[in-house]
């Protein structure tokens, strides 16, 4: 499990007796959010089939084994599931204590990407190559540590009863905590992750009860920043091209617009019921680039049709609905902020990912939670599910 080695939980809880503990507290199983769990599992399962369909002919990738990515996806899901259980067992409160360490590790990891250890995949310099075909995308974990770190800082005095809402100083400090890894990720550059992190920060601030000035200020800064970035030419050409192609996909159907165009053809040709699994010509013919990762939704669109693709949206909806419930029902601000951060993350990343395949969002290299192939992303979202479950099962502190 080299994929998890950078984010091991060892040292932060009892090493043994996990299953025994789970079994012993039989109330826990009843208090878990099962719709959330099942939806997440269902999404991962659908994902494995879609990844399989997209890669079974890709002899250039699957080293001749059509099931290669299928099994890898299931394996990733399994590891993710185990990480979720570990997270539940540790509990989000315990993890709060570990935030400084986790934060430090994740910042070091994203910094490593900027060293010669980092690798560029699909134009995004966001990876660490671990050898043996394993890669790690530290920015996925940064999302979690930003959520945990900011939640810890913003909720500390509120949950302690000192403040009704976090004061300006606390908000500023928490923002400072988020800005450091975001800046590093921007330098990679991994613009998609930066966008997600920005939305996470917004969600965290919203749910923390921070003053409206911070909220509007942040949104305003985001707009000004985007304009400045575009005007100053900080973006790479490929990033600008992605936006240009988004605005007008017919611009250059063989070049930049190719992805979006082919993705839209794939989804559109699925119709109501789809061409049937493994029968999509766009998928079989590998017309959509990155189809097992960022463009996995097109496989569902083409082969499973509106019903199948709609089901994925529905399952994502269930996940988000349960997450919203958890955020609203928990009694402490810390849990609320963590849940809200995860909601912002899942919601925006899903919207951006599906939206780009549907041609309503510009192309950005972001995976679809649970569905896209990719170890780090899978682990991160399952840890997030673990956090949600943990918030859900946690007894109120005051009780």
């Amino acid at each position: 499990m080299a994929g998890t080695s950078g984010f091991s939980v060892s040292g932060y809880g009892p090493e043994r007796g996990l299953w025994a503990t789970l079994a012993a507290r039989d109330s826990l199983a009843r208090r878990l959010d099962w719709p959330l769990m099942f939806s997440a599992l269902a999404l991962s399962a659908v994902g494995s089939v879609l990844v399989w369909s997209a890669t079974r002919n890709r002899t250039d990738l699957n080293t001749g084994d059509p099931y290669h990515f299928f099994f890898r996806h299931i394996l990733n899901t399994g590891i993710g599931f185990a990480l979720m259980i570990g997270t539940i067992w540790l509990g989000h409160r315990t993890l709060r204590g570990a935030v400084p360490v986790l934060y430090g590790v994740s910042v070091v990891l994203v910094l490593l990407v900027l060293t010669p250890l980092g690798a560029t995949i699909n134009g995004a310099h966001a990876w660490i190559v671990l050898g043996g075909g394993f890669t790690l995308q530290p920015s996925e974990f940064v999302k979690i540590t930003i959520i945990l770190g900011m939640a810890m800082m913003l909720a500390a005095r509120v949950d302690a009863g000192d403040q009704v809402h976090p004061d300006h100083r606390t908000v500023a400090k928490s923002l400072g905590l988020a800005v450091v890894p975001i800046m590093i990720v921007m330098m990679m550059p991994d613009l998609g992750s930066v966008m997600v992190m920005a939305v996470i920060v917004l969600g965290v601030l919203l749910s923390s009860g921070a003053s409206n000035r911070w909220i509007f200020g942040l949104v305003g800064a985001g707009v000004v920043g985007a304009v400045a970035v575009a005007a100053l030419g900080v973006l790479d050409e490929y990033q600008i091209n992605r936006f240009a192609a988004f605005a007008n996909p017919e611009l250059d159907p063989a070049g930049v617009g190719y992805n979006t165009n082919q993705a839209r053809i794939a989804i559109g040709s699925g119709g109501l019921t789809g061409t049937g699994l493994f029968k999509g010509s766009q998928t079989t013919g590998q017309f959509v680039p990155e189809q097992q990762t960022d463009f996995v939704f097109t496989v569902a669109g083409e082969e499973l049709g509106f019903l199948g693709a709609g089901l994925i949206l529905l399952l994502l909806g269930v996940v988000l609905w349960r997450a919203c419930r958890i955020a609203r029902e928990t009694t402490e601000l810390y849990g609320t902020i963590v849940a809200a951060g995860i909601i912002a993350w899942f919601a925006f990343q899903s919207f951006e990912n599906v939206g780009m395949t549907l041609g309503i969002m510009p192309v950005a290299g972001l995976p679809l939670p649970f569905v896209s192939y990719g170890g780090t992303s899978m682990f991160a979202v399952w840890i997030a599910v673990g956090l949600l479950q943990s918030i859900r099962v946690q007894k109120p502190m005051s009780a």
């Binding site: 002919n57 919203l206 839209r264 559109g268 809200a340």
Partner: protein, 761 residues
């Protein structure tokens, strides 16, 4: 655990959580809506796009069927050549539209850059040939004569020649066995046009972009059979064009082979003799014009008398049909379609129209008998016939006293027919025609199939014309405006004619009737029409639709569809009259106007029947006609501006017979040398694998002996007759062949629209 957990949070946080939830679900709804829009509302559109995306067509052209002669010898088949093609779509992608590539290519091929450029430009209204008339998406052949060396150069330096391919390709070959060119009968191919593709889309034989289509001759008539079905394999391909599956595959079906009744060896002889006869005629002085005969065009048709099958058909001027293969060059195209070269694309055997002259007299004789005159009656044959103050001379003959119709045919006495025609004209009311006039002479001509196509299996046959009362009326109505404008009483000759035409051009005058009776005037016939008529006399009266195709043999040889001779009616003669005509025509060859050409002919073994004809053409030299038949064969030859029938065409026709029967000049027969002593009845042998046996044919080598065209003409054949009434033939029977459909612009038939009407009395 209570349903509503107590929270210590402020309303601000609670409200914001609700806001977050609302935002989240509106995002999901947006995605759902967009998904529905793409998939359910516009799904069909994207399905089509996906289909175009991943299906590639690979067209395997079908091998075109061969055209074989009656022995199985290929007249048209295929050979593999190295074809260098340029893809316009590729070239157009380049910054300079591929100019640099074409210049390099020209260097390798040893052509000028302009030649190459012209070949790959697209045809439109303003672009002269050569240009590409096919689909712009199809690779355009630049040359089909690339050497292996050149092909290798292009292939090895592929990066220097993007969009250029050099592939071995099956191309049409007109093999010319035995030196038989057969150009006009075979026709030619050219690429299919966009309109044709659209037009044939929903028929049972749709075109492919790569198809070549028969444009004239047999290639056109039998195109459907020869073409075969191209193999189309639709491959599903991935984004890199790699094949990931085969959607649909139709194997290429080679085209059927057409066995014709042409005998390549006889064809070679016929072509040679026609050409020699014209050369000889050009050495002859025409005493009317004091110039040598121009002999600018000619045709000869050899039919099987009993079936109407075409044994050979030659037309002059001619061309090399291979000029069309692989796209025609500018020079060749100009040559083939210019007036200067006198339109060699025309098949004059079926497309040239001229007044028939005296070979028409078999029809006049029949008309006379139908009008009640006894064939064996006695009719005066003076040296001239007068109507009013107009004198009609006995053109081809002298005065013979009183003779019967048979003798009148033999010696070609015009005045006998003048007299009979004049009498009939008077009976029909003369200048004040009766209602329901008998018009025997005109009606009989139509009963002989004139003024109508014979129905030969070659395209664009012309119908000719019988200038009856209805035609005169129509013609006058169409032209009187012009005549009346141009006409001037007492003006020069043309003005005077126009004046008269304006006044009474619609009327059948006595002069019209008598001129008509000897095949002069406005009458137009084609060689194939006359051959059909003479073959019918030979076979007892059946007018067959002449046919070239004999059988359609499927490529595997299993299906043989024979083309049976069809008839378009019987001659309007009874047995007795047939025999009388037959006897008279034999007399022509033994004692009549063609006898001097048939000295030594073994008449007892192979009875020869013939009729000579010399037709006047206003403003031109006379047209030579020679119609003849034996029991088995009918040969009609004509030479435009060639002099008299027996003078120009007679010896050539005899030589063709001699070659077929294996005769020497003295009449001795050597069957071993005979090319075709009897018509070939069966088909060539078809092997179980579908190949058709073909004997080897040696190239035709003509006798070194000079053509005996310089013998002294007998008095009966009045060569160099001065046309005494220049208006006798008002028309200029040019070759009114219909244009080859494409791409050659039609040599325009200058039909007789402007010419003034004949002055007859």
């Amino acid at each position: 655990m209570s349903n509503i957990p107590e929270t210590g949070r402020t309303p601000r946080v609670q409200i914001r959580l609700v806001v977050i939830q609302v935002l989240v679900f509106s995002l999901l709804l947006t995605l759902g809506g967009r998904l529905w829009y793409l998939q359910v509302r516009n799904g069909a559109e994207y399905t089509d796009e996906a289909k175009n995306n991943h299906v590639q067509q690979v067209v395997q052209p079908a091998v075109r069927g061969s055209i074989l002669d009656s022995q199985g010898v290929p007249l048209a088949d295929n050979e593999t050549r190295l074809v260098v093609s340029a893809s316009r779509t590729e070239l157009m992608k380049m910054k300079d539209s591929g100019k640099a590539v074409l210049i390099r290519l020209a260097g390798v091929l040893g052509m000028t850059p302009k030649e190459v450029g012209d070949k790959v430009r697209l045809c439109d209204n303003e672009t002269p040939q050569p240009c590409w008339n096919g689909s712009p998406y199809q690779p355009i052949p630049v040359t089909d004569e690339a050497t292996t060396q050149q092909a290798l150069q292009i292939r090895e330096r592929a990066e220097d020649f993007p969009g250029i391919t050099a592939e071995p390709t099956a191309v049409r070959r007109y093999a010319g066995p035995a030196k038989a060119n057969t150009a006009q009968v075979l026709g030619y191919l050219s690429p299919v046009t966009d309109e044709e593709i659209t037009k044939a889309q929903d028929t049972d034989s749709p075109f492919l972009r790569s198809d070549q289509v028969g444009r004239s001759g047999l290639e056109r008539t039998y195109d459907k059979y020869l073409r075969g079905d191209a193999g189309v394999t639709r491959y599903e391909v991935d984004n890199l064009g790699r094949v990931i599956g085969q959607a649909k595959s139709d194997q290429a079906e080679p085209g059927s082979n057409i066995v014709t009744s042409i005998d390549a060896r006889v064809q070679a002889v016929a072509e040679f003799e026609l050409s020699e006869a014209m050369k000889a005629a050009r050495k002859e002085m025409d005493r009317n014009t004091n110039q040598n005969y121009k002999a600018d065009a000619g045709a000869v048709v050899v039919l099987e008398s009993k079936t109407g099958r075409v044994v050979s058909m030659a037309s002059q001027p001619t061309y090399d049909p291979n000029a069309w293969v692989g796209g025609i060059s500018a020079k060749d195209y100009a040559k083939l379609t210019s007036k200067k070269s006198n339109f060699p694309l025309l098949n004059r055997g079926i497309q040239s129209q001229a007044a028939p002259g005296s070979i028409f007299k078999v029809i006049s004789s029949t008309a006379a008998v139908k009008a009640g005159y006894d064939f064996n009656g006695s009719y005066p044959c003076p040296s001239s016939y007068s109507i009013g103050n107009q004198v009609f001379k006995n053109f081809e003959s002298q005065g013979y006293g009183s003779i019967d119709l048979g003798r009148a045919l033999e010696v070609s006495c015009d005045t006998v027919f003048y007299g009979l025609a004049h009498k009939e004209w008077q009976k029909d009311g003369g200048n004040k025609p009766k209602k329901g006039a008998n018009d025997y002479f005109y009606k009989t001509a139509k009963e002989f199939g004139l003024a109508k196509e014979t129905g030969i299996d070659l395209p664009n046959e012309t119908a000719g014309r019988i200038p009856d009362r209805q035609w005169k009326q129509d013609f006058w109505e169409a032209n009187k405006a012009g005549w009346c404008k141009q006409g001037k009483k007492g003006g020069d000759y043309v003005e005077q004619l126009a004046y008269e035409g304006c006044l009474e051009g619609n009327r059948m005058r006595a002069g019209d009737a008598v001129n008509y009776s000897i095949g002069q005037g406005d009458t137009l016939v084609t060689p194939i029409q006359m051959a059909t008529i003479y073959a019918a006399i030979a076979n007892g009266g059946t007018m067959y639709d002449p046919s070239v195709g004999k059988a359609i043999v499927s490529p595997d040889g299993k299906s043989v569809q024979e083309i049976k001779p069809k008839s378009h009616g019987k001659l309007p003669i009874d047995r007795k009259l047939r025999d009388q005509l037959d006897k008279a025509l034999a007399g022509v060859a033994t004692t009549g106007s063609a006898a001097w050409r048939f000295g030594g002919w073994p008449q007892d073994k192979i009875p020869m029947h013939a009729k000579t004809g010399t037709a006047e053409v206003y403003g031109k030299q006379t047209t030579s006609w020679f119609a003849s038949y034996t029991e088995d064969y009918t040969i009609v030859m004509t030479i435009s501006q060639g002099g008299t029938g027996s003078g120009a065409s007679g010896p050539a026709v005899r030589k063709i017979y001699e070659a077929m029967y294996g005769l020497d000049a003295k009449g001795g027969q050597n069957l071993k040398k005979a090319l075709l002593p009897k018509p070939r009845t069966g088909l060539p042998k078809i092997q179980p694998d579908g190949t058709i046996d073909a004997p080897e044919v040696k190239p035709f080598v003509p006798d070194k002996k000079p053509l005996d065209g310089n013998e002294i003409a007998p008095a009966g054949d009045n060569t160099g007759q001065v046309p005494q009434d220049p208006g006798a033939a008002s028309t200029a029977p040019e070759d009114a062949g219909q244009a080859p459909a494409d791409p050659g612009q039609a040599p325009n038939a200058n039909e007789q629209l402007a010419g003034p009407p004949a002055r007859r009395d």
